[in-house]
Subunit: 300 residues, 2 copies
């Protein structure tokens, strides 16, 4: 299919999969006359500085056409704006497979209190079941085969080695979105549950060197950075997140401060191995959730 | 000033205070010819279901006017849409005071590791310095003088009493945004730092009754709810937040699960009173931050 020919009129709306108030976007499932499916993502574009300046310079571009509320010094309007100053972004995935559709169909999340027992019997087997292929990009960094020019700092010591590198999702321009990773070289540390008191120097050194690298490369001081570990992480090789306090995506309870982890390990070396109850927020259809459910049914 | 007369052309843009990529909004500081200041908030409106349906029914409303990318089944377009389907919300605060302007001028946040000592010498005096006037709305609820028809459940027992009520910022319609509060009646419990093992039954009972009320009133099961306490809270009377797992605004490290709090109090009754290091993420110009800074300078 030629992209010139791809328009809304070719598709019939089947279902709105997601409507985001917060991000002003929508994900639509549609079908072509051929029966093939399309995923259509519509989102409002963010304002640009130039657009705002134009709106003020050429006052007539914005029409305040309805007063919604007025009380004392507070005025709310509904307004219209010339379309060229108010663009939309549209993405199509066409033809969309069943897997594409599933990926963008929201699934409710549920909360699991993971005891060490649940970790051993359900979470650990899940971690082991993950394909090592998803770590190839990371090993390429550690082994010197990719992204070497992006590395901010490196400690090359078999047992306590690590790499400090900006996260690929950060543009390195906007300091509000500052996002750097520290990735350990050892391959036996997969998650927080593998840590013990012996790993405190590694954590401290990686955090310290990460904070220094951020000060040096981006002139952002350490008091503006939060250092987190995710549990459970999205990839299974221990890493810390160093993020600007301006970011708004570090959700509780998944993000656990490295400082808190070190405190807990100092008090009790096997805190995470043997005692901690961790909180998992997982999609209802996640393997861990469905296996736990099955187990509970078997008991009854 | 008559609201009919309030248009962009009356104002000169002085400065863009905030431009949000995430929420597609902008906060502008502008001035009238009189010299008075205005805060002008511009934001894109979220899509409505009806709008999406119309976009598909009347294909010509959306013009896909520029192909940004095309690779295999992925197509990205920039598009225009008839302005009536793509409204803006505009808010004015006019005339804006210096306090209004300060409120909407973003301030970077910094991280403080609050030891019990810092709590006693800096955070507790800050809590005490807060005006009780900001709690009048809450006492109106507890004392039966306001919002009584909104209360979902109530335990009226001097020592262990509480009220369960939907948070005012939730519309009670969209279950993704589910947000309910449990507020204790006792006035000696202000924050997490005041809790000891004796308060476990109060916490458990309030959480249990909150979860039951949510199941009964909104048919949302307890496995889809997270129960948090904020530290430090925005108002100083102990309360728990019961929120849907679909909400994306429960940021670490401010939000601490009630289940984790109970575990910690079981292990050590004075954990929060005497031992815990809590994490404060505060604006750089917050009273606690500036006083801590001053103290550190005095030491040197």
């Amino acid at each position: 299919m030629n992209s010139d020919l791809l328009t809304f009129s070719q598709f019939k709306l089947e279902r709105i999969l997601n409507l985001s108030e917060e991000h002003k976007g929508a994900v639509c499932l549609a079908s072509a006359s051929s029966g093939q499916k399309a995923l259509i993502f519509i989102s409002k574009a963010a304002f640009k500085e130039e657009t705002i300046q134009q709106l003020f310079q050429e006052g007539e571009i914005v029409k305040l056409h309805e007063v919604l509320q007025h009380n004392d010094k507070f005025f709310n309007f509904l307004a219209q704006c010339a379309p060229e100053f108010n663009p939309l972004f549209i993405k199509f995935i066409f033809p969309a497979t069943q897997a594409d559709i599933q990926k963008y169909t929201p699934v409710a999340s549920i909360v699991i209190r993971e005891t060490p027992d649940i970790y051993t019997n359900f979470t650990y087997p899940f971690i082991k079941s993950r394909s090592t292929e998803e770590l190839i990009w990371l090993w390429n960094i550690l082994d010197g085969n990719a992204e070497q020019d992006r590395i901010l700092d490196r400690e090359s010591d078999g047992q306590n080695g690590f790499v400090i590198i900006p996260d690929i999702k950060w543009d390195e321009q906007n300091m509000d979105g500052l996002y750097v990773l520290g990735i350990v070289e050892r391959r036996d540390l997969q998650t927080l549950r593998d840590l013990c008191a012996e790993d405190i120097p590694l954590l401290q050194n990686m955090m310290e060197r990460g904070l220094s690298a951020i000060e040096k490369h981006y002139s952002v001081s350490r008091s503006h950075i939060l250092c987190y570990i995710h549990y459970i992480p999205s990839f299974m090789q221990l890493h810390i997140h160093l993020v600007g306090t301006g970011r708004r995506d570090f959700l509780a309870p998944r993000s656990i401060l490295v400082d808190d982890i070190i405190e807990n390990l100092k008090r009790d070396s096997s805190f995470y191995k043997d005692r901690a109850i961790m909180n998992l927020v997982l999609p209802e259809n996640h393997m861990i959730v469905t296996q736990l459910d099955q187990k509970q049914h078997e008991k009854i």
